[in-house]
């Protein structure tokens, strides 16, 4: 009898990090004569060979415009593009592919909601509630929407560890609250927000919910039916996919009730000079030729991540985060910024009066790529009274050797600036 998958005995999820690393060509190079140690994953992840090959394959074999062509290539491109939408639907466990809208990135997804939903739903004195952890992309569009509509932006504070103060959050949720927009995982501090609790609080007053999952989707499985927000957004390039492609998940009824965001081709069902009628979902929100190639390749990246599995990724990254936390705390003068109870991936830190920018430059010359600055989260920096942090962020291909290389490079920083 041929064995099937169900016959395979259950084994604990493990990740063969050497095998994983072999799939990422960019990791195998030297910078300044040192092996590259890539620890800037919260900014963007490196791409596996399958993703790079898929992009090349698309342009070599399948390139055509989608939806309107009757020729073979257009049918191939359309099938791949719509297939990619189904892949994203399954990735988020959305009910229907009509709930998946392709955008350029998470920022555009949030702007789409702030414009199309915000301008039609928000009125003077309504409230939009965000947290003090948000990336600028989940602050500025809401400030703009508030300026247009007269609504008021409310901010739930964070404590010294980088956890949202949930008592304050609950206190700020009121009948005036119309939108709760929160990040799933903080890019600056690594805090995993209690989004289930936040959604429940929002629901109790009938507010809509948007979750920015840009940092979450490459570390943990996301189920939008279980979480049940109205909107969930992420960007493709952080989940090992290409840049220039993002996703907006929206509940079908909510999307149907919204006016379009941008006007143009593909988003209409009929056009006369007197009146245009909107296309059905999801096309109503996809004006113009979409980013066909990168949507298709995003699906390849997602399949890659699913093949590794979030259980294995989560176990590996959690152990690495523990190790990194311990090792960095051993560095004299180093203070971790962001020590939330539930965290993933991110090790943000400062070192006495040594400026993060100097730290970044010096470790770079040791081959170690980290991020320095305010991480597009200036209010988070203000909360901790610092201008910037140095940030190492982990992905599935990082190892304890990478952490050791960072710690070694920080020794060089102390030697030079200490």
């Amino acid at each position: 009898m041929t064995p099937t998958a169900s016959d395979t005995p259950a084994v604990p999820a493990t990740l063969d990090v050497a095998a994983i690393r072999a799939l990422f060509p960019a990791l195998h190079q030297q910078v300044y004569g040192k092996p590259l140690v890539y620890l800037d994953n919260a900014a963007t992840t490196q791409k596996p060979q399958v993703v790079i090959d898929a992009l090349r394959h698309y342009y070599e074999r399948d390139n055509a415009n989608v939806h309107r062509g009757v020729h073979a290539l257009s049918e191939k491109a359309t099938a791949a593009f719509e297939g990619a939408r189904k892949t994203v639907q399954r990735f988020l466990n959305a009910r229907s592919e009509r709930e998946i809208i392709f955008t350029r990135n998470a920022t555009e997804s949030i702007n789409l909601v702030a414009r199309a939903w915000g301008d039609s739903q928000l009125k003077a004195d309504d409230e939009v509630l965000i947290t003090a952890l948000e990336h600028h992309s989940n602050i500025v569009p809401w400030q703009q929407a508030c300026a247009r509509t007269g609504a008021v932006l409310k901010v739930a504070p964070i404590d010294d560890a980088g956890d949202v103060v949930m008592d304050e959050f609950a206190r700020l949720v009121s009948p005036r609250t119309k939108m709760v927009a929160v990040s799933h995982l903080s890019n600056a501090l690594g805090t995993i927000n209690p989004v289930e609790q936040m959604v429940a609080l929002a629901r109790s007053v009938g507010a809509a919910v948007l979750i920015d999952g840009s940092q979450a989707v490459y570390h943990m499985a996301v189920d939008v039916q279980a979480l049940d927000p109205d909107f969930y957004v992420f960007t493709g390039h952080k989940v090992y996919g290409p840049t220039g492609i993002g996703v907006l998940y929206g509940r079908e009824a909510v999307l149907n009730a919204m006016p379009p965001f941008m006007g143009g081709g593909d988003m209409i069902s009929s056009v006369t000079f007197e009146k245009s009628e909107w296309n059905e979902l999801p096309y109503k929100f996809e004006a113009g030729t979409p980013n066909i190639a990168d949507a298709i390749v995003l699906a390849v990246a997602i399949e890659f991540v699913r093949s590794v599995g979030f259980e294995a990724i989560g176990t590996h990254e959690a152990a690495l985060l523990d190790y990194g936390t311990r090792r960095l705390q051993e560095v004299p003068g180093l203070t971790l910024v962001g020590t939330a109870k539930r965290k993933a991936s991110v090790l943000s830190f400062v070192m006495g009066d040594m400026h993060p920018h100097d730290i970044g430059t010096i470790v770079d010359r040791e081959g170690v790529a980290i991020r320095t600055g305010h991480h597009c989260a200036q209010p988070v920096m203000d909360r901790f009274g610092i201008p910037a942090t140095a940030r190492a962020s982990l992905a599935m291909y990082n190892t304890t050797d990478d952490i050791d290389a960072l710690v070694h490079a920080l020794g060089r920083v102390r030697q030079l600036l200490g």
Partner: protein
């Protein structure tokens, strides 16, 4: 490849640790704020100008080693200069940090400031070295807007 020591030279490390002319200037006649949004560096530059000459100069703020050292070296360099001389030194400094790395810099023209020529190897850090100078230019023209490197 250049060594890190070309950027973090002893003079720079010294000015970073013990910045000259650092603090408030109560009798300032003009001042300007500078901000580098890339790394959050902020500085306030104050000048006491009398008869077209910079009699006193001081700076305050926070920043990386390069921006702090550059501000410190700059205040030393322009103290006692006329407004025109300081404006000319701005041009020379700007010229130096934007000279392509494979071309020599005119060390005689900029004197001690030549230690900052090493930033040319680090494109992301040129703005750190330039912040104080842009702020000086703003203070000399008494611009109300904060000087920016972006």
């Amino acid at each position: 490849m250049q060594d890190l020591h070309d950027l973090y030279q002893e003079v720079i490390l010294d000015h970073n640790k013990r910045p000259r002319n650092f603090g408030p200037l109560p009798d300032a006649t003009q001042s300007a704020k500078g901000h580098n949004p890339l790394c959050g560096d902020k500085l306030t530059l104050s000048l006491k100008i009398h008869d077209g000459r910079i009699e006193k100069v001081a700076f305050e703020g926070s920043g990386c080693a390069i921006s702090k050292a550059s501000a410190s070296l700059m205040t030393d360099a322009v103290k006692g200069q006329t407004i025109d001389e300081a404006a000319h030194l701005f041009d020379l400094f700007h010229q130096m940090v934007t000279t392509p790395i494979d071309q020599p810099i005119d060390e005689d023209a900029v004197g001690k400031l030549a230690v900052l020529g090493g930033v040319r190897e680090y494109p992301a850090r040129v703005k750190c070295a330039s912040l104080a100078w842009h702020t000086l230019k703003a203070a000399l023209t008494n611009t109300a807007e904060p000087a920016k490197t972006e």
